[in-house]
């Protein structure tokens, strides 16, 4: 920890000596602006302006709707931090999520000499490139999901997927009353986050809820259509199925299948993410619970944490910042969302 800090000071010093021409700007901007935090954000920027303009790279993904609020968080942070002489570049690492895309994007961001990087590393093995950035004096903040091995990032914000899975397990326990059959539809076999969400739930159920029987695990490659077919097949083979647990993309396909078979209220879906299509089926009752992890807040906060660290060397209290897992159910949906937020969302 202390090593990083010294490096950080060095960077600041070199920044100091190198930007004498910009003192004017700094002087005029001496007054710290008073900007309100946007709704859904949690962390304020420190009341201090940087010595020189700062550039933060925000490396994220955009292969399914989950990432929209993340992007919105980043863009809100961009707008917010613009007042602090800091730019946030929202960069999508690639069209498919793989570990080497993370490495490639990190490498490029290092080459582009950003002052700090916020990244969604997702995969094991990305710790090496994160450490490399840190060694070169670029602080890194990871969020949403990271690999299982520790890296020298200043902190990780998110909910580890295994814990989220356990929460799903508890939810399933509640719904079923501890007895009955459940089927699992996971996104892609072997995708770390999907596996952890699946195992979190299944391990919890196996240890604590002996009355639950898992009838099968199938992959839907994040496709709603495949979830639809799989759900129909599962209900054919197990007419007494109680819950379909969808770990990743396309849960509304499973919900639609339940609706089409007229089984609303008898079978329900437990899934992730509060995207409009999911919320619709929460409202109509096929989705019993959808777990979300505050994606907007994570997108926003990670940028501000980086800013605070860059200008004031201020670190979060812990290097793990858990986010709140919101569970939306047919009972609480009207409290959490107004209907036009999801009925006409396009």
């Amino acid at each position: 920890g202390s090593k990083t800090e010294t490096q950080q000071t060095q960077t600041q010093q070199s920044g100091n000596s190198g930007s004498s021409g910009k003192t004017n700007e700094t002087a005029s901007g001496q007054e710290v602006p008073d900007v309100a935090l946007p709704k859904g954000a949690h962390v304020e920027a420190v009341k201090q302006l940087p010595e020189k303009p700062l550039r933060i790279a925000f490396l994220s993904w955009q292969n399914n709707p989950f990432w929209f609020p993340v992007r919105d968080g980043a863009l809100a942070a961009k707008e917010y931090l613009a007042n602090f002489n800091t730019t946030v570049d929202y960069i999508v690492m690639g069209e498919d999520m793989t570990a080497d895309r993370v490495v490639a994007a990190m490498e490029t961001a290092i080459a582009k000499q950003y002052d700090a990087i916020a990244v969604v590393p997702v995969f094991d093995g990305t710790e090496n490139i994160i450490n490399k950035a840190v060694e070169q004096g670029i602080p890194v903040f990871s969020f949403i999901a990271e690999g299982s091995k520790p890296s020298n990032r200043i902190a990780f914000m998110g909910q580890d997927a295994y814990a989220a899975g356990q929460l799903a397990g508890q939810t399933i326990e509640k719904i079923t009353g501890g007895n009955g059959k459940i089927g699992v539809i996971t996104g892609v076999f072997g995708a770390t986050q999907h596996e952890q969400r699946m195992n979190g739930a299944l391990d919890y159920l196996a240890e604590n809820v002996p009355g639950i029987e898992v009838v099968g695990k199938y992959e839907n490659k994040d496709k709603a259509e495949t979830a639809y077919s799989l759900t129909k097949d599962m209900l054919t083979a197990h007419p007494d199925l109680k819950v379909v647990y969808v770990t990743a993309g396309g849960p509304f396909g499973a919900a639609k299948a339940i609706q089409d078979m007229g089984l609303t209220g008898k079978v329900g879906v437990v899934c992730y993410d509060h995207i409009p299509d999911n919320l619709k089926y929460v409202k109509s009752g096929e989705i019993y619970a959808a777990i979300a992890q505050d994606p907007f807040g994570q997108g926003f906060d990670s940028c501000v944490y980086l800013y605070n660290y860059l200008v004031a060397g201020q670190k979060p209290d812990s290097d793990f910042i858990p986010v709140q897992l919101d569970v939306v159910t047919p009972d609480n949906i009207d409290e959490m969302y107004s209907e036009d937020e999801y009925m006409n969302a396009e």
């Binding site: 199938y218 992959e219 259509e225 077919s229 969302a345």
Partner: protein
């Protein structure tokens, strides 16, 4: 070494014994046997398999792949390939949703979508014939482009469809899902087209020997463009079905379907070097994949073994034919 497309040949056979023995030798037949064996095994292991509801489920599940495979077969018979079917399907789902937003009557949406779909794939056809770019590259590129536009148009979010056009995907006639009926109609028309019409036969001629076709006065470029246009229309049809089933158009719907579709075509007896293949075989090929996936759920096959099983059955279904040919 010479593999023969016997389905077409057997059409015109006079003697019945001959027909049967030819049938037994045909590639379709071995695939049919593979399908039959698979069904037998699954039905012995699960009492649910032969329930009418399940059979219709399976048929509905293969309908999209089946319809696309008919078009893909035509392209592959000419010696081409189309990797963009999945993403053009997704794109057409999005277009359908946009048209539905205009509150147009379903019939208009239907024809408009067919025309747009055709137009999109015709571009691929034009690039392969007029600029002579390898169809693999053209359609690989088109796959990205169509997907990119779907994402740009929707901003990446699914769009829900409130229009009767969704009947194509979610309707039933009696107990039979509408997509199943559409698949059988497409297959029947495709079969007659390929085996009984002049443009259909020209497709085989082009794939068999392009030079010979050209020297015989067939306008080879037109034939190639035509099959792409047909493919585009079928992508549009499948796009309407898929988005209709869920009443939602997902921009990434259909991605990755190209492999399933091409596998169905090749399992069904077509050769990737062109000139051979039959529409009936293609539907059987799609059915094998459908039954297999269905059986995973019915039998509760453990997760990762499912992945292994898909590979083994894919190879096995085709090996049957090769082994038979070798023995002959």
């Amino acid at each position: 070494m010479l593999s023969i497309n016997q389905a077409e040949t057997s059409l015109q056979k006079k003697s019945k014994g001959n027909l049967l023995s030819k049938l037994a030798k045909s590639k379709e037949f071995s695939v049919l046997v593979a399908l039959f064996v698979l069904c037998l095994v699954v039905s012995l292991l699960s009492p649910y398999f032969l329930k009418m509801q399940n059979i219709f489920n399976v048929l509905r599940q293969i309908s999209v792949i089946g319809i696309l495979a008919v078009g893909e077969a035509l392209i592959i018979i000419t010696g081409g390939i189309d990797l963009s079917v999945g993403s053009v399907l997704g794109f057409m789902g999005v277009m359908t949703a946009l048209l539905a937003k205009l509150h147009l009557p379903p019939v208009i949406i239907f024809f408009a979508a067919i025309i747009i779909g055709s137009a999109v794939s015709t571009i691929s056809g034009l690039l392969t014939t007029k600029i002579k770019i390898n169809p693999f590259i053209v359609t690989l590129g088109m796959m990205s482009i169509a997907k990119g536009f779907s994402l740009l148009i929707t901003g990446g979010m699914p769009i829900s469809i409130e229009n009767n056009i969704t009947y194509l995907g979610s309707g039933y006639i009696g107990p039979v899902p509408v997509p199943v009926i559409i698949m059988f109609i497409v297959a029947a028309i495709g079969h007659i087209f390929a085996s009984r019409t002049l443009p259909g036969r020209n497709i085989y001629a082009v794939g068999n020997n392009e030079r010979a076709a050209k020297l015989s006065g067939i306008r080879v470029d037109r034939v190639k463009i035509m099959v792409f246009s047909i493919m585009g229309a079928l992508c549009a049809l499948s796009g309407m079905i898929l988005s209709g089933t869920l009443k939602t158009a997902e921009p990434t719907a259909g991605s990755g379907y190209e492999m399933d579709v091409i596998a169905a075509v090749v399992i069904g007896g077509a050769s990737l070097s062109g000139g051979e293949g039959s529409i009936i075989g293609v539907i059987i090929g799609a059915a094998i994949m459908g039954v297999l996936r269905n059986s995973f759920v019915l039998l509760g096959v453990s997760a990762y073994w499912q992945v292994v099983a898909i590979g083994v059955v894919t190879i096995g279904a085709v090996a049957l034919d090769s082994l038979k040919t070798k023995r002959d």
